[in-house]
Amino acid sequence: MEHLIIVKTDDTPEIDFNPGSKEMKISGRSLPEDVTTFYAPVLSWLDELEETPSGEFKFIVNLEYFNTASSKLILDILMRLEDIHTDDSSNTIEIIWNYDKRDTDMEEAAEEYSELVEVPFSIVGI
């Protein structure tokens, strides 16, 4: 498994998926023109994780904003994480979703995702 790093831009988030520390982080803003292309390497990385016994992973979200198209891709990522967590492999997932505690729109978005996936899911107002 390679360490996946995508540097953040004005319209795409930072991706830092580190097999060494077993942390997968997504931070910043997500409003790319082409969400499918942007998130393709992220989904491929998760496909590889599903095939590789690697232990207990944390998915850490520090998103400030995402558009509706990204919202669909984030759901795809969370469902992939659920597959990894619930299949027969030894890999487990914990999701930690940090948000600005005044931002009730983001809190609600995180709650809605947590209702959809069967993975330990903490929502943390900071």
Binding site: D10, D11, L31, T36, A69, S71, R102, D105, E112
Partner: protein, 185 residues
């Protein structure tokens, strides 16, 4: 719904009478959208706006601007009326107005979608969004088909819209006006 004035007339009156934060008419692409967002954020920040209101404006503006970027048409390669965006500050709220040509074949679909969104309360919108997202597929132009629902949820106000005749047999000019309250409940 009271008919809005024709878009160009409306923009003209906005420029004269209202406190416009940003007025743009021309080509829309991702680079231009990013510039408009950067400019607006800077201008709003220096106005001392509540962070949460600024964030809401950013959210709704992205959806409205990207909606235009993803649905730009030319009529038989002849450039028709340019799309536009206007952000104006009123006493108690901000208005975000977009205008763009849309093909007459899509008017009914757009009308039905907005009327559906306008008929729902907050809980119903939440359920619709969750269900629509589960069933959504990213379209050829990169949309998820969730924009109107998201904008209605974030603004907590009804969407105001209209279609105006332009010099084209196949297109009308679609305007969408959203409202973001300055005081968030």
């Amino acid at each position: 719904m009271a008919p809005m004035e024709t878009p160009l007339k409306q923009i003209h009156s906005i420029m004269n009478d209202e406190n416009a934060v940003l007025i743009y008419s021309g080509e829309f692409n991702q680079e231009i959208v990013k510039s408009m967002l950067n400019y607006t954020e800077g201008k709003l920040e220096s106005s001392g706006i509540d962070d949460l209101v600024r964030k809401k404006i950013f959210n709704v503006m992205v959806e409205q601007l990207q909606n235009i970027t993803k649905h730009q048409y030319t009529d038989d390669d002849k450039q028709i009326v340019q799309p536009c965006f206007v952000l104006i500050e009123q006493e108690n709220f901000y208005n975000l107005v977009t205008g763009n040509p849309i093909h007459i074949d899509t008017i009914q679909m757009v009308t039905d979608r907005i009327n559906q969104v306008n008929s729902l309360n907050a809980d119903e919108l939440k359920d619709l969004y969750k269900q629509a997202r589960l069933n959504s597929r990213i379209s050829d132009v990169g949309g998820a088909g969730l924009g109107f629902i998201d904008v209605a949820r974030k603004t907590e106000n009804k969407l105001d819209f209209g279609f105006y005749d332009i010099d084209s047999a196949n297109y009308k000019y679609f305007t969408l006006k959203t409202q973001i309250n300055k005081i968030i409940a």
